[in-house]
């Protein structure tokens, strides 16, 4: 299967997903939605990493650096999500909003 699909396909998919996620994180009002955008970006990176591993690794079994990296990215994404959501809930409690545009007491 690998021989039939060029690497570029995967990379392009990842790039597209990355851009979609970036758009989400830059343009959504809701802090949770911003977080979702970030998750999309991390997924895109993982596709990159796994594709590079699969195509580039001289020994896909013994040299699994890309996979390992992806695994850690997933773990950290979970940690990040936990903290991020905790912060969202905290700010929702104190300010009664999760709209990023309204969280602007600190400026200038």
């Amino acid at each position: 299967m690998i021989n039939d699909i060029p690497l570029n396909y995967f990379l392009s998919l990842a790039a597209a997903l990355f851009c979609i996620g970036l758009f989400g994180s830059l343009a959504r009002k809701n802090a949770i939605a911003v977080l979702m955008g970030i998750e999309l970006m991390l997924n895109a990176v993982n596709i990159n990493l796994v594709a590079f591993w699969r195509y580039g690794s001289p020994d896909p079994i013994l040299n699994q650096a890309g996979i390992v990296f992806a695994l850690f990215v997933i773990t950290l994404a979970a940690a990040e999500a936990a903290i991020g959501l905790a912060l969202v809930i905290a700010i929702y409690r104190s300010r009664d909003t999760v709209n990023v545009e309204e969280i602007n007491l600190l400026k200038w």
Binding site: L22, S25, L26, A27, V34, V100, E101, I103, N104, L105, L106, K107, W108
Partner: protein, 721 residues
């Protein structure tokens, strides 16, 4: 073997600073004595070194007292060491700085006590609320100046230089403390003091930055900052190895000019002179300290220290010395004219300092190293004297405005006498210190500009003309100051009544400084040029090029008469304007009004007499005679007025007014505007830029992403082209 302890000299005042700041802050009297003790110890050690240096004589220039035991850091194969370097000029500074500082310290003890009238009508004497801090700061100031003088290394020099900058900031703004109202200091004054301190610091900072840049470049091109190593022939030649930095501008020229930038700011030369007159907001001892012994002298001393670099530059075709001469010469006359139009007794002196510093730099710039250096020493003494005496007057009278003084010599004869000595020295009148040093500078300018073997030098001729004119104006404004303050009738009875002779602790330092002012000039007379032999015979540290040394000749004699003539001329004019008919109470300064108005006033007075003559026409002969006599006198005085005084007044007044206006305008609108304006422009930019910080984190992220992307795309495009 006192020389081995040179490094301890600055330590005493610094230690005094530390002790006062940390331990005795709350005890005013003790703090003052600790500060004075610190200076006395420094002075004793300095004198030891000085005497030892004198014993060495001119040899000292070739083999200076030098030691650099403190390893600061290694650089490449070399190390940067801190230590001491005492060459002839350095030793002269070691004599001058602590002496003058000690006088200022003693003077401050009484000066920083204020008297005011309490609620019950009694006069209350009270220490300044920050008395101890004052002594701590001036100790730090003195210590850092001494450190600067003995520095063996430009970096060490720069450190001391910067500490001084900070001290000047703190001291100029010393009275910018709200809550001092009982000490005659109102809100406006507080505001002025604040503004002045910031202005002084920021303006001199510009110079510091230039100096620092020059220092880094020097370090990189020469590989050392140690004066002795730097000025060894190899050291300076290293500069020529690299590529010239900007077009035809050579490294030595660039570096010398950058270093000179430090001097321009610190010694208040055009166009960075603006801070100095405002610095008068500080207490008078601080003014004396800044103007005489420490800060502005440090700027000149920097040029003296780096003189080999300037000489080297001019030998290799650079123009740094010409720049120094040009700026010095211009500032000398420029500031003198501005000084004409000042009514604040201290401001006159401030402009006078600027002008005199211009003298020194002009001398250094045309190659008259010894004359410029000597003027630095003598000027310190008589300028300190003038400031302290002026301070005594202010202290006694309670105002700075000369137009509210007058006739004070009767009330405070000792102060008057000392001030007179200082003023005569400043004017350059025989036999006081200023005469000898100023004459020397004029002589050198005359010799180099008009009678040089290598042909006439237009720049030096300009310098001579400028300095000679400045000497004239100096005598004029000093005379004006003298007459307005001490002669004539009191113009404000209230202030006059308030005046009293200064207490002992104030007049004794004055007397000592006056003594020095009288005798120090004989260190270097054209007949017996001991100072020239000492400082100039063997040249400079690391650059043993003897300065040209002329025997007493016709030219010197001519020069003596020329400079005396100029000085007396100025004094004479001043006498005609201010002394002959003193300015009365409420009268404007003759220079301040137009001639037509003055003539009209005078005519009216004359008509009144005439009128009285008329109604007394059939009165007694005696009365008639009297009236006639009076009328005759009036007519004579009218004629005298019209032809001589008015002419002079109009001429000088017109010239002075125009120039003062013009330059004052330039000062206020161009230079101040640049300094303040750059502040407000950056403020505007800041106000505009900060709006980027919207508070919305997604805006931030977008900017960040766009930034990263811009970099990425930039690289991408670069690879395709």
């Amino acid at each position: 073997m006192v020389q081995n302890f040179t490094l301890l000299i600055p330590l005493f005042p610094l230690l005094a600073f530390a002790i006062i700041a940390l331990l005795t802050r709350s005890r005013n009297r003790l703090s003052a004595w600790i500060a004075i003790l610190g200076v006395i110890l420094a002075l004793a050690l300095s004198l030891g070194v000085f005497l030892e240096a004198l014993a060495e004589g001119a040899e000292l220039a070739v083999n200076p007292f030098y030691g650099a035991p403190i390893v600061w850091y290694p650089y490449g194969t070399a190390t940067v060491n801190f230590g001491w370097l005492v060459d002839p000029m350095g030793s002269a500074m070691l004599f001058m700085v602590p002496t003058v500082c000690l006088m200022i310290f003693i003077y401050s003890v009484a000066y920083m006590r204020h008297s005011h009238t309490g609620k019950d009508g009694h006069t209350i004497h009270e220490d300044d609320p920050r008395y101890a801090r004052f002594f701590a700061l001036i100790s730090l100031f003195t210590g850092s100046m001494l450190l600067l003088v003995i520095s063996s290394n430009l970096l060490q020099f720069f450190i001391a230089w910067e500490i001084m900058g900070f001290c000047s900031y703190a001291l100029i703004g010393f009275w910018s403390f709200r809550g001092l109202k009982e000490h005659h200091i109102d809100d406006a004054q507080v505001g002025r003091a604040r503004a002045a301190s910031i202005k002084a610091f920021l303006t001199t900072r510009v110079g510091d930055v230039l100096l620092m840049t020059g220092m880094i470049l020097l370090f990189i091109t020469v590989g050392t900052l140690d004066f002795t190593q730097m000025f060894s022939p190899d050291g300076l030649n290293n500069m020529l190895l690299g590529e010239p930095p900007i077009g035809a501008l050579q490294w030595p020229t660039l570096i010398a000019l950058l270093i000179f930038g430090g001097t321009v700011a610190k010694s208040a030369q055009f166009p960075l002179h603006i801070w100095l007159p405002d610095a008068m907001e500080g207490p008078t001892p601080v003014s004396a300290l800044i103007h005489a012994a420490t800060m502005v002298s440090a700027g000149i001393f920097l040029v003296i220290r780096m003189y080999p670099l300037f000489v080297f530059d001019s030998q290799t075709g650079g123009f740094s010395m010409q720049t120094v001469a040009l700026i010095g010469g211009f500032t000398a006359i420029f500031a003198a004219v501005l000084g004409l139009a000042q009514n604040d007794i201290k401001r006159v002196l401030a402009f006078s300092t600027v002008s005199q510093l211009g003298y020194m730099l002009a001398a250094l710039g045309i190659g008259a190293f010894v004359a410029g250096s000597f003027h630095l020493i003598t000027h310190a003494f008589f300028k300190a004297l003038l400031f302290l005496a002026a301070g005594a007057v202010i202290h006694a009278v309670g105002t700075n405005d000369m137009l509210k003084m007058g006739g004070l010599w009767r009330k405070m004869p000792i102060t008057f006498l000392t001030f007179l000595i200082g003023a005569l020295a400043l004017m350059g009148i025989f036999p006081f210190a200023g005469f000898w040093s100023k004459d020397e500078i004029l002589l050198e300018a005359l010799r180099l500009g008009f009678f040089s073997e290598s042909g006439a030098a237009p720049l030096v001729q300009f310098v001579f003309i400028s300095l000679a004119t400045a000497a004239f104006i100096t005598a004029l404004y000093t005379g004006r100051q003298l007459f307005l303050t001490f002669f004539g009738k009191p113009r404000d009875q209230h202030f006059y009544d308030h005046a009293h002779e200064s207490p002992v602790t104030i007049w004794v330092p004055l007397a000592i400084l006056a003594l020095f002012t009288t005798v120090i000039g004989f260190w270097n007379t054209p007949f017996a040029p001991a100072f020239t032999g000492y400082v100039g015979e063997a040249g400079l540290v690391g650059l043993p090029v003897p300065f040209e040394h002329h025997a007493f000749d016709q030219l010197a004699l001519i020069s003596i008469f020329v400079s005396l003539g100029i000085a007396f001329g100025g004094l004479f004019v001043a006498y005609f304007i201010y002394g002959f008919r003193p300015v009365g109470a409420g009268q404007p300064d003759p220079l301040e009004r137009l001639g037509i108005i003055y003539r009209a006033l005078a005519s009216k007075f004359w008509l009144d007499e005439l009128y009285g003559y008329k109604i007394n026409l059939d009165g007694t002969a005696r009365a008639g005679l009297l009236v006639r006599f009076v009328g005759l006198l009036s007519r004579f005085s009218y004629w005298f007025d019209r032809t001589i005084v008015d002419g002079l007044v109009n001429l000088v007044g017109w010239f002075g007014r125009i120039m003062a206006r013009l330059w004052g305008w330039f000062d206020k609108h161009v230079i101040d505007a640049i300094v303040n304006g750059s502040g407000s422009v950056t403020g505007e930019i800041a106000g505009w830029w900060r709006t980027m910080q919207t508070g919305n984190v997604q805006n931030y992220a977008l900017i960040a992403v766009a930034g990263a992307m811009a970099f990425a795309i930039l690289f991408l495009l670069r690879s395709f082209t």
